[in-house]
């Protein structure tokens, strides 16, 4: 189960989470060495971690009463859910909204990627960095920023429009289909741009040069050679983006619920949060969601057919650039405009808001530090901050340790359980955060150990959700280390443990550090998997931010958002540094 929805797990590097490749099983004698037993232990522990909550959610969807209470098996939950027209409307809204969002975002991402990689647009290196920046902004901040700008009553743009044009009604309403589309599309362009750029870069430049040499102009080359060649990649990227959108949580809840627009995720959340609590609907929908996303991911993998996108850019070659003439400033404006809308504007609005007394009005006397001092005196926020630091740090370290072991077993051994282990560690990738949260709730509320209501449960949720990203990054790190470096240590007298301590760990340490910091950033921003688990005493910054936004306490929200952003950026910045300086070439 995931503590980290794909939306969030996608954060760091993994452009795709390909299904682990099937290999033919080896006929291998089983030797009960301590290493074999330890590996089996890791596999069983991981299996329990992932499958227990999934199993409990499935069980819950066939149970007549609430989690942990006496009841009996039934099909009624599904019957009720699927005989209601609302459910089908839910499907339709989800698919349509997210489909349109993906199409719009893909078109823009494709244009931006082409501009940056193939034209003579000025400052394109800087532009590339700017376009990627929104990718690192937590999704919830994107939503908050646009609420501050476009909420009907106090949104800055609406207030300004009313004052300037003397309108009586707000021209924009963020709490609408249009608002959801706007915010989600802006947020996902960056992610798709990152992947499309690398697809464009990895393309053989001579294919385009041949078209130019054959007399095709720049536009003809782009449309008849470049586009068809990267079409399969773009299709796969779009599917990935679509899956992330279907699983997204914050925007539907913060913007959609209020306007009565329901997709899968906010419906599930509303079913448990609103009175009367509707457990049967939430579990039936949540359990149906798993095969749905699993199916989508499998299809996406099929489209990808084992190809993966390498985000690391640059073979050092620069394809011939297209001269845009005066239009290059138009291209520049489009790129810069995207950055302003997707990052600069919402973030600066949050920053401004965090120093303002009342929303919508900007006058010098409105400036204040009260929003921050209010944070200092609020014990919930202090606990939220300390919990976030401790829980996310602990979870990050534990995840890296566990994932290192899993990655080692999967990539370096012939353990009979390595294939199931690989699969089970990948499974959380297909489970949306809010469904995962539901599974954890159901699984641990009456667990023999009193985990429910403790920060330990938050750690468990994060670790489980962090598995796919962690295993992926660690396996990538291990692959970089030539097997002979390990074999050479063993053949020169080192036991496995001595080899691991002296050779393996020192060599993968930079990757481990980068993975831990990235996971920390991912955990610290995630809402969906823990929103149902964090309560009094176990507050997390991200969850508090989410709840305060729902309650409309926007002054506190913007100060809190700035703190979350800082925590996040600090984690990512250190990760980048470690990654950049630690990994030696050709190891």
């Amino acid at each position: 189960m995931t503590g980290t929805s794909p939306t969030e797990a996608g954060l760091a590097a993994p452009a795709s989470f390909a299904l682990p490749v099937r290999r033919r099983a080896l006929r291998h004698r089983v030797r009960m060495t301590p290493g074999f037993v330890a590996a089996a232990g890791v596999a069983l522990f991981t299996g329990a971690l992932v499958l227990y909550p999934v199993g409990m959610l499935l069980f819950g969807s066939f149970w007549t009463s609430r989690p942990g209470l006496p009841g009996q098996l039934t099909l009624d939950n599904y019957v009720s859910a699927y005989t209601s027209g609302d459910t089908y409307k839910l499907f339709a809204t989800t698919v349509l909204l997210m489909g349109v969002k993906t199409l719009v975002a893909a078109a823009l991402a494709l244009a931006l990627a082409w501009i940056v990689t193939r034209t003579d647009t000025p400052f394109r290196r800087a532009l590339e960095v700017l376009i990627i920046t929104p990718y690192f902004v937590p999704g919830i901040l994107e939503a908050i920023g646009w609420i501050l700008l476009l909420s009907p009553r106090t949104g800055a743009i609406n207030v300004a429009a009313r004052q300037i044009f003397g309108l009586s009604d707000a021209p924009f309403d963020v709490y609408s289909i249009g608002g959801m589309l706007w915010v989600m599309a802006l947020g996902s362009v960056s992610f798709m741009f990152l992947l499309i750029t690398s697809a464009l870069r990895s393309m053989d430049a001579s294919l385009e040069e041949a078209a130019r040499a054959s007399g095709a102009g720049a536009m003809r080359t782009a449309l008849t050679v470049t586009l068809p060649l990267i079409a399969p990649s773009v299709l796969a990227i779009m599917m990935l983006s679509f899956i992330r959108a279907v699983e997204s949580f914050e925007v539907p809840v913060l913007l959609g619920t209020r306007a009565g627009i329901f997709v899968f995720t906010n419906k599930i959340y509303s079913a448990i949060q609103d009175y009367p609590v509707n457990y049967w609907l939430s579990t039936a929908l949540g359990a149906s969601f798993i095969p749905l996303t699993l199916g989508l991911v499998l299809v996406q993998n099929r489209v990808l057919r084992g190809r993966e996108f390498v985000v690391v850019s640059g073979k050092g070659y620069r394809p011939r650039v297209v001269r845009l003439g005066p239009f290059r400033w138009v291209a520049f404006a489009v790129c810069a405009g995207y950055f302003v809308l997707a990052a600069a504007l919402p973030i600066s609005q949050i920053l401004l808001g965090s120093f303002t007394r009342v929303f919508g009005l900007f006058e010098p006397e409105m400036l204040t530090l009260n929003n921050y001092t209010a944070l200092v005196s609020d014990p919930r926020l202090w606990r939220g901050l300390t919990n976030t630091l401790w829980v996310c740090a602990t979870a990050a370290v534990v995840t890296v340790a566990l994932c290192s072991a899993i990655a080692y077993i999967v990539t370096r051994t012939k353990h009979p359980l390595r294939r199931p282990l690989d699969l089970v560690a990948w499974l959380p990738w297909t489970i949306p955060g809010v469904v995962a949260g539901l599974g954890f709730l159901w699984a641990y509320i009456f667990f023999p150990l009193p985990l429910y209501g403790t920060t330990a449960l938050l750690v468990i949720a994060f670790v489980t959700g962090g598995l796919p990203l962690g295993v992926r990054v660690m396996a990538g790190g291990l692959v970089q280390i030539h097997a002979e470096l390990e074999e050479s240590a063993r053949s020169h007298g080192a036991s496995w443990a001595y080899m691991a301590r002296r050779v393996l760990v020192p060599l993968v340490r930079p990757v481990m550090a980068a993975a831990a910091l990235t996971l920390f950033a991912v955990f610290s921003r995630s809402v969906a998997p823990v929103v149902l688990l964090a309560g009094i005493g176990t507050e997390l910054l991200s969850v508090l931010l989410f709840q305060y936004t729902l309650q409309g306490q926007m002054q506190v929200v913007s100060a809190l958002a700035m703190i979350l952003l800082l925590v996040n950026i600090a984690g990512l910045a250190v990760a980048r540094r470690v990654g950049a300086f630690g990994v030696k070439e050709e190891v």
Binding site: R27, R29, A489, H492, A494
Partner: protein, 367 residues
């Protein structure tokens, strides 16, 4: 007693779909340098890795110095680190996070040697490979040849009973490869360490080996000294793999003579070739066999030769000058022979000439 006994060993990959090594047996004698030679995928590296304990055999037994180290049937498997070997890897496998000293000291430290002894032995090992004064260098600052030497020093520092080398020279450029080859041979002679060397380069195997095991598709084709392998290859594969060669299908035309010469017919039956018989049982008249002769054992001359048992008139088809020699293609009737001749040979394409060779240089090979 042989230092290594490799007995009927089989290794399968891909769930039994591929037999990388199929009932292979050979022995490594005390103090010798044995080369495992063959094209890629022949099972030579897998065999070496099974001696090292980096792979487990599926069948058969491996014994090192009288100790059984691998035997699936008896459930014996001594892990790599307890086999007391030194090994040089194709990629050198120099740990990039350690200095030269730390790399070379590793086998000693892993076995908890005393500090004082470590410094002495590392110094000695570095001196042995000509890297005095490199101890404190970072391993990543070394050239390919230097890394190679560090790998060798590391393999020798523990004074192992067995040295295993997996294509150690294949990543070096051609000139350095030849130099390292000579040094390696010299080092092995000096230390007398029993060594197993894997390569796909036949020249390397000839230059280094005391004995060669030629492998192909998981089987042993021939085991012998370099001279035996080159001059008396047992099979067509071996004869082709270790050097350029001419093959000739022929039919025995007369019974084996008392002087050990057998006469055969080839072409349309009018051409005769004599060959020194090395087999046990005498060949029967009318028997078909494949005879072969190496290009450098063929002589091209303007007139007939009394010194050679075999002389045929021929037409020169092509000539290529290589500086130190010339290579010809000549036709005896419509059969083409490759000839490697001294550079001073003065025959031009289109000319008629005589092709000659001694019966001792013609041999019969198995298909």
């Amino acid at each position: 007693m042989p230092a290594v006994i490799f007995d009927q060993v089989t290794k399968e990959f891909a769930g039994g779909a591929v037999r990388a090594v199929d009932r292979v047996s050979f022995e490594v004698h005390e103090g010798e340098l044995l080369v495992l030679l063959g094209p890629s995928g022949c099972g030579k590296t897998t065999s070496l890795r099974m001696i090292a304990g980096l792979e487990e055999p599926d069948e058969g037994e491996v014994t090192i110095d009288g100790t059984l180290v691998s035997s699936p049937t008896r459930n014996v498997f001594v892990p790599t680190e307890r086999r007391g070997i030194g090994m040089v890897f194709q990629s050198y496998a120099i740990w990039p996070h350690m200095t030269v000293f730390e790399n070379v000291a590793f086998p000693l430290r892993a076995r908890r040697a005393r500090r004082a002894a470590i410094a002495d032995k590392v110094e000695g090992a570095l001196a042995l490979v000509g890297l005095e004064g490199f101890a404190q260098r970072s391993a990543t600052q070394l050239s390919g040849g230097q890394q190679q030497r560090v790998a060798l020093a590391r393999a020798l520092v523990f004074e192992p009973r067995l040295l295993l080398l997996d294509e150690p020279l294949s990543n070096l450029d051609a000139k350095l490869r030849v130099r390292m080859r000579t040094e390696l041979k010299e080092l092995q002679r000096r230390t007398g360490i029993t060594s197993v060397f894997v390569t796909h380069d036949q020249a390397e195997s000839m230059a280094l080996a005391d004995r060669v095991v030629v492998m192909r598709q998981g089987h042993v084709e021939q085991i012998g000294t370099p001279e035996e392998i080159y001059e008396a290859p047992a099979t067509r594969f071996v004869s082709e793999f270790v050097g350029s060669i001419n093959f000739l299908p022929a039919e025995v035309s007369r019974e084996l003579a008392p002087d050990g010469i057998v006469s055969l017919r080839f072409g349309d039956g009018s051409r005769a070739i004599s060959c020194e018989w090395r087999g046990a049982a005498a060949p029967a008249v009318g028997q078909q066999m494949l005879v072969s002769v190496r290009p450098e054992n063929l002589t091209l001359r303007p007139g007939p030769s009394p010194d050679h048992e075999n002389v045929w008139d021929c037409v020169v088809r092509s000539a290529v000058y290589y500086g130190d020699h010339r290579e010809y293609e000549v036709a005896v009737d419509d059969r083409i022979f490759k000839v490697s001749a001294p550079a001073r040979t003065a025959v031009e394409p289109g000319e008629r000439a005589y092709l000659a060779c001694r019966a001792a240089d013609v041999f019969v090979v198995r298909e």
